[in-house]
């Protein structure tokens, strides 16, 4: 599974309250989450998320287990999230909803083109290629299916 996008660089310890605030959660209208993704971090980010690879510092997605955080990013058009480390619930949630997560250390600049390949396990930007932390075969299969729901549908068919 290969993908690419423009880099949106964020700092470390981006918590799920920053990704989608509690005040936007009580709805079933998914478009609300995408519309407010990362708004408490920087309202100007909204227009830059479509087609983006988020390049974050460590501990991305810490805090609440709210899956809406991963959904908000995916629905806002984020292609993948790369960070040196992730909070584990966010990491699982992202895989489960089909948003690729790439555990890696790689320097990058805002707006740079980023390319990655999940099977081959690498990420590349600004002429540098780095390995990404290996996913278990199960996680790769879930991501390849597009998330846990399609994965389980496929498995039970």
């Amino acid at each position: 599974m290969r993908g690419s996008g423009h880099a949106v660089c964020l700092g470390r310890d981006i918590d799920t309250d920053l990704i989608i605030a509690g005040r936007h959660l009580r709805t079933r209208d998914r478009s609300v989450w995408a519309a407010h993704a990362l708004e408490d971090r920087d309202p100007a980010l909204a227009g830059r998320l479509a087609g983006a690879v988020i390049m974050a510092g460590g501990n991305f997605g810490c805090g609440s287990s709210r899956e809406q955080a991963a959904v908000a990013l995916r629905d806002a058009g984020v292609v993948a999230v790369a960070a040196p480390s992730f909070a584990r619930i966010f990491f699982r949630n992202a895989v489960n909803i089909g948003l690729p997560v790439l555990e890696c250390e790689i320097p990058c600049r805002d707006g740079d083109q980023v390319t990655f390949d999940l099977e081959e396990g690498w990420i590349e930007t600004g002429g540098t290629r780095r390995p990404v932390g290996p996913l278990s075969p199960r996680m790769r299969a879930i991501l390849a299916a597009g998330g846990l729901v399609p994965f389980l549908c496929g498995e039970r068919r």
Binding site: D13, L18, A21, R88
Partner: protein, 404 residues
């Protein structure tokens, strides 16, 4: 030596295992998305309803018609699946589960990050998201990566005005917000054995604030006695001799009342350093600091006096509230001028009652002080119930030592 996580999950750290989930629970916040994912899977299969729980705690009672509609849908879903259902006012999901519904050696998964609270019973308890939960409902189990373990050696005993919450802030500060990512915190040592179940629950509750997957105590006589109070029999777990690859030590006797400064839970200093900082609101409650012992400690300080600033008390569960009523703790709180709300999460997540205004400061017994969590522009300081009580009486950050 095997760690408790390895023993419960039945494999060495780093391996991936498929495990049946002994108990699984969701609340009104995550239940909705989990139900949507479950519906999408479309099999109609819901396994082990007798070991699955839906607990209304996040926005209770409903604050808007939209919330009310979503609540109704979830009630109908609970009835459809046959899982256990807890109405508004029964309490915060982790506390409800801690009242005789979590046993040593079990694998427990909650669709909430603070599900690690239940490790206090010697269970492997961790949080997942909504889609993971839907998968568990259908298949009865899920996969885990068996975590590495950080040993937290507790020596000595708490003294003075220090409380379990202060110990929690101490280890969070020592490890940092991602110091234990993907790991289990295993609390061991004589000091660990000396702690009550309420203290252990508070310590395990905050494990996730270091990025940990779980926080865990070995079940011992204290665990057995507590569970016997709920009519449940439990076996004890004996620690295996050996060392942890990674460990920290805390002498409980050295712990002083602490404060986490906004907006980072690991930015911790002694309460004494911020003495006199004015606050607009004090909040006593949550899955961290809303248990009976917390209300009792708060009441001991405010009894017969008047709070000087608006103070919201939310008991963690109906059982906590009932006990506080029976012992007179509740009357002491009300007579001291506290506003009391329905058992549940209350203002903790900033979604309904007790929301902060721009620039307002709250001292809270909760576990998180992220930017805007309790309201846009509000600032949250985290502390123990005793510190909260002293602060409520003065209207500014105050060390509980002054009221001992």
């Amino acid at each position: 030596m095997s760690t408790l996580s390895e023993r419960i999950l039945g494999a060495g750290a780093g391996s991936y295992v498929d495990r049946a989930v002994d108990r699984a629970y969701v609340h009104d916040g995550t239940g909705l998305l989990a139900r949507a994912a479950w519906t999408e899977i479309g099999s109609g299969v819901f396994t082990d309803p007798d070991r699955r729980y839906l607990i209304f705690d996040h926005i209770v009672p409903a604050n808007t018609s939209t919330t009310a509609d979503l609540h109704r849908e979830m009630r109908e879903f609970a009835a459809l699946t046959g899982m256990h259902f807890f109405e508004i006012g029964e309490g915060v999901c982790h506390q409800v589960m801690a009242e005789g519904r979590a046993l040593p050696g079990e694998v427990i998964v909650g669709a909430d990050s603070h599900s690690c609270t239940l490790g206090a019973f010697g269970a492997f308890a961790t949080g997942v998201g909504a889609t993971d939960m839907a998968g568990i409902w259908v298949t009865g189990g899920t996969w885990f990566r068996v975590p590495e373990t950080t040993g937290i050696f507790l020596e000595g005993a708490l003294s003075g005005a220090a409380a379990a919450k202060d110990v929690a802030l101490a280890y969070v500060a020592a490890l940092g917000m991602d110091g234990a990512t993907y790991r289990t915190l295993e609390f061991v040592g004589e000091g660990a054995a000396s702690l009550s179940m309420a203290d252990r629950l508070t310590l395990c509750n905050m494990a996730v604030e270091t990025g940990a997957k779980a926080g865990i105590f070995h079940a011992d006589g204290v665990t057995r006695a507590y569970l016997a109070g709920f009519g449940v029999e439990a076996a004890v777990q004996v620690p295996e001799a050996g060392t942890y690859p990674d460990e920290i030590e805390i002498d409980l006797g050295d712990v002083v009342p602490l404060l986490a400064l906004p907006p980072r839970v690991d930015a911790v200093c002694p309460v004494a350093e911020k003495e006199g900082l004015p606050v607009d609101q004090v909040f006593l409650g949550t899955c961290t600091g809303g248990r009976y012992e917390d209300l009792e400690a708060f009441a001991a300080t405010v009894r017969g006096k008047q709070v000087a600033v608006r103070t919201i008390v939310v008991p963690a569960s109906r059982a906590v509230l009932a006990r506080a009523v029976a012992t007179g703790v509740f009357a002491a709180l009300v007579e001291a001028g506290c506003a009391v709300a329905t058992p549940g999460c209350g203002p903790c997540l900033g979604a309904h009652l007790g929301v902060l205004g721009e620039g307002e400061v709250c001292l809270s017994t909760a576990n998180r002080n992220f930017k805007n969590r309790m309201g846009v522009g509000g600032e949250i300081y985290l502390a123990s119930p005793r510190t909260a009580a002293a602060t409520a009486l003065v209207g500014a950050v105050t060390s509980p030592e002054e009221f001992l």
